[in-house]
Each structure stands twice: as structure tokens, then as C-alpha cells.
Symmetry: D2
Subunit: 144 residues, 4 copies
């Protein structure tokens, strides 16, 4: 397993592509073999009642971290699409930049299965949500 | 099983509470015993590359429909929190108002388990994503 | 969507293949377009403490019903493999034959996504567990 | 977080309770703070076509490892019940003793959320399946 793109290249691809992510200024902080970390800079729209980070924001962080991991390892595979996502909410996430870290559970030819841990920079050592998800990967024979 | 709140009351509670949902003008279209339907009016920020409805938007629709269902049956149980969400993306969702319909799989004392089907009004008969999720419910004994 | 195999043919394929299922005498009760129902005849080994049907038994029923659905629609695609399974346990299942009913959420070229409802014949109208799962499908180009 | 029971005590509780597990001779190999490892000794009934470990066997290993983790930390909480299980199958598992290792993602008052990794002793460094699951915990107020 090795990398096809660095963090800056992954970030450029994601920002170009995603209206929503581009608006929030998603940052790809680090990519290395079998690891990607993204940051969603804090903004008030991320909060739900009780001033905790909302579920959709945590979903976005998980999905973005997984997508960054796939892009870094496969190159500009913009056709990779989320097939499913399983999110578990573990603790209240205090207002702060939202961090998503993803690793591969499996990188197959047709499916990438990943795990992500989500946290807030307001309390960096606390995992506030855990996700596993799979992406369907474009395959050579699909384009033959 | 019977209802504690009607659609207008549920909508008022959700809009008051959720910055993000309030901004988008979430509509609670219908609540009845064991059913809730919400609508997220279309806006460009919902799209991802290829002009399809994004994953976070579908997550929001699933979560909002489930929350509306819980509110309608339990009253203003604002302490109900999403415990987990499993989302399966089935088809590309064309630009349009996003519809979420939720039913109970189980309404227990401590946990509500729900199922949601998501679609776009651009293609109303096509389920574009399916979700199951659980909410932890506040219980009397917790506050005793 | 139409059928490639009837219930008897599906049952023969599953029984031939699965040591565990064969032992328990799994019955494919019905297959039709977008529907399969299997029965695991009751035996004491299915019980866990409290005399309720065990989790592994319900998993087996969900997986068998989904596999029967795939076989009925795709023919003897013995290479189809479970990619993931999400099971929610809703109620205690009393001792009795275990019934699994599966439908498609999506039948794609590469992935079949299905939903299954599990019940016990001791209390036929009560859904005791709900499952969604996906199967990776063998594709022509894989064998080219 | 500390332990209420050691591996031998956990094993005795599980074997007493579970007909199916008792039959297969489940071994609780290790429990320590935030970790439990169980072993299902290999037997032919675990195999599915292609001579790989079956899905129900991997489900059993995940569920048993999580249950052992809960028992070790909470004592003989035999009323703890699996609420949901999400299993991802990553690789073919060759015939061999099946190992399940579980950790907590969250140990709350009402819900324990856990992660498990499954492998076969035939190929110990290969994770063949990954699971996350939640258990509903009995609470004092339920028995008041």
C-alpha cells in the first residue's frame, strides 16, 4: 500500500468537488499510508440544542476523512461513492474544530471498508463518535 | 400507541431547537401513529459533485424524520438523543426537495429503534437511501 | 426483475452448501419476485438463557433469507458473499421455528442490499429482530 | 474502570448460561481493563462452502467477546442484552480456532458500545471481520 496523493492534493480535490465542504473550509491535515486526518473548522451552524456538535456535522467529518483516505491511496477516483455508513454517537461533542481520523479495515478491488474516529479540538482526547463505512470503488472493467 | 403532538407542534419544536434545520426551513409534513414525514426544501448546498444530493443531507433527512416521529409520540422529549445511525445509499438522488419518512421498529422505555426511507421529490417513487437508527430516551427514573 | 430458481431449487443449493444449515434442516418456504421466506425448524440449541432464541440463530435466519433471495434472482451464484450485516434485536423471541423474510432494497450489478425481518412461529406477528445487509455479487468481468 | 470478574469466572458464567457456547467449549482466554479475548475451538460445523469460517460463527465470536467484556467489568449482569450488532466481513477466514477480541467504545450507565476484531488462529495476524455492537445494561432503577 502506498500513496498516490499528498494532503494538499487531496484537499484541493475535495474542496473543488464539494460545495458544502468547500464552504466550510475543510482542511486535510495529514495523509500517510493507512491514515487520513481532516478538520472541519468550527462554525455556529454545526451546533444543535445544548451547544453540542450535531449529528450531520459528525457524519460529514466521518465521510470526509474516509473520502480523503480513499483519494490519497487511489488517486483522483472521484467516482468512489459511499455505499453505507454506520455511526455511533458516544459522547457530547463540545464546540470546537471537528477532527475526523480514518483508517482502512479493508482496501479491496471493489470495496474499501474504513473506520473513523471523531473528536472535537475542544477536548482532543475524547472520541465523541465512531464510524465504519464502505465505499464502492470504480474498477477498470467498468470503464473498459 | 397514540400521538402527543401534531405536525405543526413537532415542526415548531424542531425549528426552535436546531440552528441548521431552522436555517433550511425543515417542514414536518405529516405525523400519525407510527409514521412521520419531513421535507428538507431543496437548496444548492445540498449537492455534491455530479449534482446529486449529498450524504450529509440524507443523514439530516433520516435523523430529522426519526426525531419528528419520537417527538410526535413522546411529546417534547428534547433530551432524546441519537445513539446510532446506519445509512445505506441505494441510488443517486436528483436535485429536489428531500423527503424523509420514518416508522418505529420498536418503541421501548429506554430506546426507540426506527427505520427511515429517503427520496427526492424529483423522483418520488425511488428510495435513494435507507436508514435504521436508535435514540436513547430520557426516562422518569433518571430524573427521580 | 424475475426469478431464476424456485424455492425447492434454492433450498437444495443452500442445503448442499451449508454444513450448519443442512444440519438444522433449513426450509425455503417461499420465493417470489423481491421476496424470500425461510424457516429454521426449532431445536434446543437455538436457545440462550431465559429460553429465548439466541442472537447467532437470528443472524443465521437473516443471512439465510438474504442468501435465498439472491439465489432465487441470480441463479446459483454461489460466489455471492455477505459483505456486511446490521442486526437490531427488538424483542425476546420465544421458542419456535424461526422465520426469516427478505426483500431487496437494491439489486445492483455488484452489490445486493437487502432487508430482513425475523420472527418466531410461537408469536408470528411479532418482529423480534430486523436486519439490513449487503452481498458482494460475482460479476462477469471478474471471470473474464 | 476496573474488573469485577477474572477470565475463569467469566467463562464459567458464559458456559453455564449458553447452551450453544457450552457445547462448543468457548474459552475466555484473557480479560483485563477494557479488553477481553475469547476463543471458539474449531469444529467442522463452523465451515461454509469453500471451507471458510461461516458468518454465524463470526457473529458468535463477536457477541461472545463483547459479552465477556461486559461481564468482566460489570459482574454477573446476566440481564445485559445485545441491542444491535454491525458486522463487516473483510477476508476469508481459514479453518482454525476463532478468536474474538473486544474493547469498549463507551461504557455508559444504560448502554455499552463495543468494538470487536475477529481472526482465525490459522492466520493470526489477519482480521477477517470487524464488529461494533451495543448492549442494553440493566440499571438499578429498573429493579427498584
Amino acid at each position: 500500500m502506498d500513496l498516490k496523493l499528498d494532503a494538499a492534493a487531496v484537499q484541493a480535490l475535495i474542496r473543488d468537488g464539494l460545495v458544502a465542504a468547500g464552504r466550510g473550509g475543510l482542511v486535510v491535515e495529514e495523509v500517510r499510508v493507512n491514515y487520513a486526518r481532516i478538520c472541519l473548522p468550527f462554525e455556529d451552524g454545526m451546533l444543535r440544542p445544548g451547544r453540542v456538535i450535531s449529528g450531520p456535522t459528525l457524519f460529514t467529518a466521518a465521510d470526509s476523512a474516509m473520502y480523503a483516505l480513499v483519494l490519497a491511496h487511489l488517486g483522483p477516483a472521484l467516482m468512489a461513492v459511499t455505499s453505507d455508513m454506520n455511526l455511533r454517537f458516544l459522547a457530547k461533542a463540545r464546540p470546537g474544530d471537528v477532527i475526523g481520523e480514518a483508517i482502512f479495515l479493508k482496501l479491496g478491488r471493489r470495496l474499501a471498508v474504513m473506520e473513523a474516529r471523531l473528536s472535537s479540538r475542544a477536548e482532543p482526547d475524547r472520541i465523541v463518535a465512531h464510524a465504519t463505512g464502505s465505499y464502492a470503488l470504480p474498477i477498470a472493467s467498468d470503464h473498459a
